[in-house]
């Protein structure tokens, strides 16, 4: 649940409880009401001004070199994972697809990026089919081992090959980073947050733009 919320006040997104307690009006109350100094409170951790996660240079499945600037004007969610991950990666991407649905008419103002930590097995063809299975607008990115290592370091993401009986799996950092439409890193979202929490934060970043 939302037990990592750093905000000292109640979350302002239309939680079920808020809707039940005060009717749909709650959903439209101004954010500033509970944020001293007029700053916006988020479900995720506000890391505005962070000196990491500034940019990347990675290929998309069509071989095109991509950087953060390609997605200016949209909120960008970045998640590191691998396709043979049976648990957190599909959960994170399914949640991101839900976020897109919840955004309704703003869906096209969101870009979801999936950076593979397993380029050895995650070929461009697999990556393309994999992200498309969740949402056709999601984009997978990959780099050679050196580029991946540099990117992970820049994003403070760790990943490690772990042998199992018949193959190997990957341990990896499973946070989602959120960028505002100006391309600034703003939030770190944890794996146990809900699609509703994510959507509320994405909306705040869009509305502040």
């Amino acid at each position: 649940m939302n037990n990592f919320n750093p905000a000292p006040c109640a979350p302002v997104q239309p939680t079920r409880r808020a809707l039940l307690a005060a009717g749909a009006l709650m959903a439209t109350l101004p954010l500033a009401a509970c944020s001293p100094g007029g700053s916006v409170s988020f479900n995720g951790t506000d890391i505005t001004g962070a000196d990491y996660g500034r940019d990347f240079q990675l290929r998309d499945p069509d071989g095109k070199l991509r950087t953060l600037a390609d997605f200016r004007g949209k909120v960008v969610l970045v998640f590191f994972g691998f396709t043979q991950c049976p648990d957190v990666c599909p959960t994170a991407l399914a949640r991101a697809a839900n976020v897109r649905t919840l955004l309704g008419t703003d869906a096209d103002r969101l870009q979801v990026l999936f950076i593979t930590v397993d380029p050895e097995r995650d070929t461009p063809a697999i990556l393309k089919a994999y992200t498309a299975a969740f949402d056709p607008t999601f984009l997978a990115l990959y780099g050679d081992p050196a580029r991946l290592a540099a990117t992970a370091k820049e994003f403070r993401v760790i990943y490690q090959k772990v042998p199992t009986g018949a193959s190997y799996t990957m341990d990896h950092t499973s946070v989602t980073y959120a960028y505002d439409p100006q391309g600034r890193l703003r939030l770190k979202l944890l794996h146990d947050a809900s699609a509703v929490d994510y959507t509320a934060d994405v909306r705040r970043l869009l509305n502040a733009a």
Binding site: V88, I126, A133, G165
Partner: protein
């Protein structure tokens, strides 16, 4: 004890299957129930996926082997979050304390299907042979068919009553 399926283990499983079905008739009630099993779909060329289910044993037991004709390697893995980092480990046996519902679900245990021979498509059914062992060393074999659900599936099947 390795969960990993092997040829000898399959033979053993086949032998125990015969024994187990005989003893099942004698007991008229299975020790272990397997419910709500499902397999996560894959995309073409993807060689691994996860399977999820609920296990419950009436007597203290453990899952000692899982096999499927669609993959040469089935392992039991446990996912755990350490801070922000997702860690995955193979476990060699899965204990089923008497009466306790042991859930294999996202965020915990799952069956890891490796070196898959074909794409897992939504709507297909994947056969599994699960072998359980009681404290007395008696084995029981359960055959199931797990439906393949969408790659983005997160919850239990709709009929699970959640």
């Amino acid at each position: 004890m390795h969960i990993r399926s092997s040829f000898t283990r399959s033979l053993a499983a086949a032998a125990f299957m015969a024994l187990a079905s005989a003893s099942l008739h004698a007991q008229a009630q299975a020790n272990v129930s397997v419910k709500d099993a499902w397999v996560r779909a894959t995309v073409p060329q993807q060689k691994a996926s996860g399977a999820f289910m609920q296990l419950q044993a009436t007597r203290d037991s453990k899952l000692v082997s899982v096999s499927s004709p669609l993959t040469p390697n089935v392992e039991v893995h446990e996912m755990a979050m350490q801070g922000d980092v997702m860690r995955m480990r193979q476990v060699t046996t899965l204990d089923l304390p008497a009466g306790k519902l042991v859930e294999l679900k996202p965020g915990g245990y799952h069956l890891m299907l490796l070196n898959l021979k074909a794409q897992m498509k939504e709507g297909d059914a994947v056969p599994f042979t699960l072998v359980f062992e009681g404290k007395d060393g008696k084995r029981e074999t359960v055959e199931i068919k797990a439906p393949v659900r969408a790659l983005g599936a997160t919850a239990k099947p709709a009929h699970a009553g959640h």
